[in-house]
Symmetry: D3
Subunit: 271 residues, 6 copies
């Protein structure tokens, strides 16, 4: 199965690490490509205006790669564009980190906490959890005062996540922890060893969730609904406007995973 991880940022700083992690994490038959946006796009989307500036690109990638991949993963814990990208994804299933990791959390315990970077993120992420119907199970969302680009470079990252995670468990009653940023990779194993509760890495959650959805699609025909609110826009209208005439803006493109034939990469040239 072929999965496209769409990193909605104009930065490839985390891409090689992501590729390596995904390569190890994917199933035997899973090939994961990772694509980022070109320079000039925001290098992170902590602000909602930044999300707005890259949303169209996420949809462009979704439209361009629809039916060419089995699944898309939207690489941001805001789950930005999940609804919009799925609308034009054809038979390609789409998931995102918050949706996937909260779903998994509910299967592993009664309550969870989310560890985010900045307090900035909390209102929208809280709203997303409420939108997903899981606010009753989220006992806290706590910020560690680190930005997207701090997690992998800041000496204190691990200490802060560990200490804040401990408070979520001990003070707030969390039975499961969720790392609320796709840049919070590399921490979950040590955290769960030390804290004694499952700690969900959102990128890995999304990958496994995507693989499950693809299984459903391939074996049972469970493709995204195209009815009512999920109806796709008419092809003629999009063509008339030339809405997706240009190739989707692409920064770096990395092939990970283990699939033998990788002809797909050519389909998505850089801008």
């Amino acid at each position: 199965m072929k999965v496209l991880y769409i990193a909605p940022v104009g930065s490839d700083v985390y891409l090689p690490a992501r590729a390596e992690i995904c390569e190890r994490a994917g199933n035997a038959g899973t090939a994961i490509d990772i694509v980022s946006l070109p320079p000039g796009r925001p290098t992170h989307v902590e602000y909602h205006a930044y999300e707005a500036m890259v949303l169209a690109d996420v949809v462009r990638h979704s439209y361009a790669a629809a039916n060419k991949y089995d699944a898309f993963i939207i690489g941001c814990f805001y789950d930005l564009g999940l609804r919009e990208a799925r609308e034009v994804s054809g038979r390609t299933v789409v998931t995102a980190p918050c949706q996937a990791s909260t779903s998994i959390a509910m299967a592993l315990g009664n309550t969870f906490s989310i560890l985010v970077g900045r307090r900035k993120w909390i209102p929208k992420m809280t709203e997303n959890v409420r939108m997903y119907g899981l606010e009753h199970a989220m006992v806290s969302m706590r910020a560690v005062d680190l930005g997207v680009h701090d997690f992998q470079s800041h000496a204190e990252s691990e200490d802060r996540l560990m200490e804040t995670g401990r408070r979520c468990v001990e003070e707030d009653g969390a039975e499961v922890l969720i790392l609320g940023c796709t840049a919070e990779f590399g921490f979950h194993e040590k955290m769960q060893d030390e804290l004694g509760v499952p700690v969900l890495d959102p990128m890995l959650s999304a990958l496994k969730y995507a693989e499950m959805l693809v299984e459903g699609a391939q074996r049972f025909g469970w493709y995204p609904s195209r009815k009512w609110g999920s109806e796709a826009p008419p092809e003629e209208e999009m063509a008339a406007w030339g809405l997706f005439d240009r190739e989707p803006p692409t920064g770096t493109f990395i092939e990970a995973g283990s699939l033998a034939s990788r002809s797909l990469a050519k389909k998505i040239p850089a801008e």
Copy 2:
């Protein structure tokens, strides 16, 4: 006070009518400018992918006109980009049709129904009402099977709205009706005369709501919060990326309202 109505579509077909309506509807001191997007952008945003394609433009207009206007109105009942536009609006308040009309509805009755165009729109609009916390008061959302561009051209528009509105009142128990599309203008007066309940035009609701917010801002300093989730992105970062270096893409720009000096128009040249 100066209000900018941002029509997030690459079409100016409704703009002259809007301008005329707004001119009559605004307060004595209210000047309303209306701006649309250039050709090539979707001429309606019934589909979420279309929303995605224009969201950045909404934010661009918000950023470019921040502090130059007193209020922005986002001209779509999906309230698209409300959060994102407000983030970069500086001291300019921002509102949108669904937020404004549901708020007014709650002051006029106990329950309301929303009359939308197509069933396509229902899931996201229902989610928005739920996000605003008002699902307990919405007794129904019904579609009349007309698209954005049908309302003003379809012979049956009024009949369908009238008949569906009657069902909302009589069968569903609505005490107030909301027209769920900014293209549903020109109908509310006859409908409320005949149906005997207030019928809210969302563009007009948004205009009055905007005027109220501006009053609060000008007199009492109630500008948009810039704390936590409402924090604006840092200017340096946006500048470094050149995020808003270009003028916002503009289709038609119309000045409505009664303000004497209208120097602002020059600030927003067409693309």
Copy 3:
């Protein structure tokens, strides 16, 4: 436009100050009258039994002045009698401080806190916020341990509001603050200067909200619904019982605002 502010208390101690504030705060065309109840009525309504003792008077004023004013404001953050007064207000719109300020808060930020006087008030005010559907956005309601009549006379009022407001912002994550008593006037400007978030005075919120509703009524015919739960009682029945035969009990009556002809005052003589 003519607005009647109904102070549901048998005390005029705050009335001159209110009048002065309203006079400055109203729009150019807004005339605001303020009426209180006669001595012997509770001088504050912190207790629900006190609310009960003045509720009929609120309704009496609403019935007596229906259609003579454009809007009524119920001068208590419990929003006491909002439903009941609106039922007999004819074409006069009715609003109240909690409804108005929470609505405005939702347009300025993602979250809010309410600063009330005593813990006594918290359960009912919390219930009101829940009834309005906004409990998801209220991150805290905190009491400053001051009664209605303490706010303007207590040396520490400002300090306590400032300190408690700071905790709401910093500890609870409030992006907007609401002062939860109409006696908490005179504080919002300094608070927002110092705390850096909008601080909503509930009387001023209600005034601006009322002006908006009147605009809707006058221009678009958006009068209070009279359907289903909003149906008014039959005139004959009220007349047969002599329900509103007596003039509404009136304490002090003050004209504020800027409207030229003020013939209305004669209509509401003291008891």
Copy 4:
């Protein structure tokens, strides 16, 4: 135990029937007095303005009879004044028909419907059910188009209740029915025989609920809380205002039940 049923209306038309029913329905040791308001008060409270006109009287009776009775029942399915009356009831517990019957319904089945008189009543009664937290269990609230004074005099009352109740069960999935007006007495037995589900008479529900609360109070000291929102107003303040100096306005007073010594009646003379 002594229970006071407060009929918040200026009409005694149903009082003898109520007394007879209560006499049969009360426990061996339960004495039930029924008090109504004097002529001139609304003879029914279908409208919220009417509720407002009698609310103070409900509180006056509560204050006057506090600690003299073991329980008060507020005789209206709007549960009008439940909060306010309980605030000044001292150690007398207070209940009301909607609270009591919905609580009992939840113990007898998974879902319930409420059969009200007019559609007028539905929004407020729905809000009450939501306030009590039971909207998830209420599968419908249906009106039979009869007013308070129609139920006992209308030839079709039983037929309409039966037919509407059947629809609640068969179409809406109700497992329990609640009669949503204290004037809907005399119907429940035949209805439940025919419809095969429990049909709760709200007056009887309230009586049994009151007896239970009195048991808790007398045996275990479970009197109404007087903490935080339940704090009673200070006696000195009420005395200074003369708030409850006059006897509560009384229409008819009937003693029902089986208690031997009935000296209490003298305490509540007619107005």
Copy 5:
């Protein structure tokens, strides 16, 4: 009336004390039998797996004693088996401690806290409160770090309950306290004397609630619904499977209360 208290544990250590308390607490006409499970069953059900091991026995007792008792009380604050036992209880009403005490709490105050033994219990008990629709009124659930069998034997039990109850009232705003375990008996009186709020013992709450339901059943025919989700399984099917052929496993059986003829005890022999 005859009430069966089903202690769903293989331990009779608390039974004599329960019997004595129930004997004092029941109404004049109430006879309370208490039955426990035989040795080998869990002696407490703090863990959900333990609940699972005794649930069938609860249902067996319910089926065996259906219509022979007027009410069953399920003796565990998890309200374990309430739905299941009621399904086969015939005309016997069924209640349980959490359902009963939260219902009573809502009649005595605006908010409540629950004092449980261990943090282990919190997620499921919180879910139960949410299922009952009362999460809006529960301001906290706090554990005192004592197990079921510690409450009556631990020197610090009273101190911990008192101290934790005080925090619930003072810090969390509870107006009513609920003891969240049927083993927390013997504490409520001293607690409410000292803390000044009603403190509900769950066993006593359930007893009074059961008596109320029996009153409704006996006088008004309000037996458990047998419609839709409350439909009982078909007798033939149960007989064919021999589902309830054996007597329900019984440990100790104690007769409490004051009913003269106690022939029922013979009906439920020990296993």
Copy 6:
């Protein structure tokens, strides 16, 4: 990976079909064993009392096979014993049909309907969906008036499911359909072909969800939480009571799937 499907019924009538379906549906590396309960246990669990009679067996199988399998699937759309079985499952993850299929539905569309057998099932299944936080997305739950054992034998099963599914889509607005019984297998493909929306078979959903959870467990250490409400009971206590001394009662045991070495079967002998 090894998955144990626990059919909580004393019937093996569907087991061969299930085995065949699972064998085809599982991943290459997935071996699925299916175990049922011995004769005498209910052959279906449509009634909650029947659930009660088999719950302990579900837990016994969970305890006995803990850590020997990678995942358990509880084979009933009531998700019976999910919480209880997971408590003693050690490192074995546990899922169930309703949890799995509603989670997948949320990834494929905005709304879903559930097609159940009898109206009997609706209240509890509705409560489960509410418990999972997804009631906002469930637009309807409809019964086709077929019992568990009718689906595979009734001539009209397919017609009824098709017709009812069509109403869910067309009238209720469902974008995804869920078959609400594990006996509704064999229908989903034809239904989705004809109705044009994804139709989720709950057994297959659970299987894929289980495989995803196992991936998380094996690769990332995401085992079930053992903290707070998820804490397992102490081994010593269970041993002292002999709680799980006996082998779990077993009816038929079938090995499906493709795993080479199948030594596990011996571990779970028939009763």
